[in-house]
């Protein structure tokens, strides 16, 4: 009974959106970009490694920044310092199955309202596939 009573104002609140945010279920996933089109890490292109700190320390795309949700507060200042208006941001995680890059990209979009944001299609595995042996 109480569970249902609480549901009514919750639905109204979700409809009114008192803080003006768009709910996640109405937002499209962050657009994917292929390795060949992402561009190399540099002043205009920031690569963000959304994998765990341990995976990043083991190996990562040269020039990429580590930013994951486990250490968000500690790692975010590094990203903010590197970011310039208009810079392309490419977030990657392990492979096509992982969600971490979408989570980190969505959070960057949500909390910092950054644009020109992409998720690397195929992630780290796809990037490795483009490297010469």
């Amino acid at each position: 009974m109480l569970l249902c009573v609480a549901l009514v104002p919750a639905i109204v609140t979700a409809w009114i959106q008192p803080d003006g945010r768009k709910p996640a279920w109405t937002r499209a996933a962050v657009e994917e970009i292929a390795v060949g089109k992402a561009g190399n890490p540099g002043p205009g292109v920031i690569w963000v490694d959304a994998r765990t700190g341990a995976a990043f320390n083991l190996k990562h795309v040269p020039g990429a920044l580590s930013l994951n949700e486990e250490n968000w507060e500690a790692l975010l200042p590094g990203f903010v310092a590197a970011w310039r208006p208009g810079a392309r941001i490419v977030v990657y995680c392990d492979d096509q199955q992982c969600d971490r890059s979408q989570d980190v990209a969505a959070r960057l979009q949500r909390e910092l309202q950054v644009g020109n944001l992409y998720v690397l299609k195929g992630g780290w595995a796809a990037w490795l596939g483009t490297q010469k042996p």
Binding site: M1, L2, L3, V5, A6, L7, P9, A10, I11, T13, A14, P18, D19, R21, P23, A24, W25, E69, E70, W72, E73, A74, D99, D103, A106, R107, R110, E111
Partner: protein, 141 residues
């Protein structure tokens, strides 16, 4: 004892209603607070961020005002158990986050939040068992 139970019931009900009201107007912040625990996917978190504050308000009001008191106590007890488990899990994973229990007003450490939840849980359990023993209230959820 009756007077003590009355004051505890009003205090606990008011506390949950207050905590819910702090979060209800800022579901985005609450969603982010839940997200920091890294336990649920965001698509589940957002509906919860709209629903949980209202569940706290409605259950808190029921505990204070009477109709559905036992149901309200049971729900708040279950919520407190879930919150305490989430906080304990965050502490075990050494997450550097705040509880988020009282929206932006919540700045105390997770350890203190867990202690508060345990005390609240004990108070709720006492009230629930007392109410169940009496069997006066037939409104259950």
């Amino acid at each position: 004892m009756n007077r003590l139970a009355f004051f505890v019931r009003i205090a606990v009900g008011a506390l949950f209603a207050y905590a819910g009201s702090l979060k209800v107007m800022n579901p985005g912040q609450f969603a982010t607070d839940i997200e920091h625990y890294r336990l649920l996917p965001y698509l589940v978190i957002e509906p919860l961020a709209f629903y949980l504050p209202w569940l706290e308000i409605v259950s808190g009001a029921a505990v204070m005002l009477g109709p559905g008191r036992r149901g309200g106590l049971a729900l708040l007890l279950a919520l407190t158990l879930v919150f305490a488990t989430a906080i304990g899990s965050a502490m075990a994973r050494h997450l550097d986050i705040s509880c988020g229990c009282f929206g932006s007003l919540d700045t105390q450490s997770l350890g203190l939040s867990l202690g508060r939840d345990i005390l609240l849980g004990l108070a709720l359990l006492w009230l629930f068992l007392r109410s169940a023993g009496r069997g006066k209230d037939h409104f259950t959820s």
